[in-house]
Symmetry: C2
Subunit: 202 residues, 2 copies
Amino acid sequence: MKTILVIGANGSMGKAAISGLSHHRVVTAGRSGNGVDHRVDITSEQSLRSLFTSVGTVDAVVNTVGSCEYAPFLEMTDQQWRTTIDSKLIGQMNIVRIGTEYVSDGGSFTLISGILSVKPIPMAIADATTSGAIETFAKCVAFELPRGLRVNVVNPTVLEESWPVYGEMMPGFQPVPGGLVGKAFQRSVDGFITGQVLTVDA
Amino acid sequence: MKTILVIGANGSMGKAAISGLSHHRVVTAGRSGNGVDHRVDITSEQSLRSLFTSVGTVDAVVNTVGSCEYAPFLEMTDQQWRTTIDSKLIGQMNIVRIGTEYVSDGGSFTLISGILSVKPIPMAIADATTSGAIETFAKCVAFELPRGLRVNVVNPTVLEESWPVYGEMMPGFQPVPGGLVGKAFQRSVDGFITGQVLTVDA
């Protein structure tokens, strides 16, 4: 049994991740603090440091948070780009950078991207761009991590559980059950792979 | 003959691009202003607007600028990430967003990434990550541009002309002549392709 910190645990993607990790000891964190063990804002380095200090050493960190702004490209403001980059790109990179001090030898990070980087839809250019960035980041930074630490990215399509919310903006997409996405998180956490993008699509 | 604005024209990559575009009318811009027609800082929206206002309508914009900070990932500061993102990611996206107002119907943007996103080396995580981001950006934003505008990315390996500077940090890489990279810029500008990554590697 490993100790696994799941960030974004109270969201539908967090619940999907946990569905594949329930045989481990799961410590939960989320932005609101509701229904989780710890409160964290991944866009704040101080908040991340405070989280890792409170939780102590873990065997794996799973992140399912990456806030994105949605707008047509030509209407995207600099602030909308920065909000997205601060969370989905810099926030996730800081989880690895800071978390490296708190993850045990051979432990892992599992980050999140999203299917819209390979199946573009209107309004989603910031989501897609930062997904592409974090996937390239994981592929390349895997060679740099010390002590056998690993890093992978799960790239899920929309969840069945989220289809009522997102279905209308994703015509022709086939949602997948959260349990299938949970398997990808498990493959990352319990496997030996690193620098991989685990796409879960139908 | 088209009118083409080349940003970063005085650098070795800018010269490589121009080598494939010499049958057109080329208007040049660069950060220092030395040896070019216009001065521009792509990290400043105001500087970009000023450039496009001065140059007026063009048929294509070619950018070869993307400043990157180089350091081991665990030593990269937030400021180093932001400097790289502001130039190679946000700067290049702003060239497209603002430039769209100044490029004639059916015109094109050609941006730059780099081979280190697919052939990782030490110290280059910010270069690689932003290269992956701008490639995904171009693939996805191509569907959004109005009036038949096109956008592509050239992903070059190191130039023969730059080998004396970069060769030592890129063991086992095979440099290519600038003229070959110039061909990729020409394929983007004079072709009909859009949303493509034109990799030039040996």
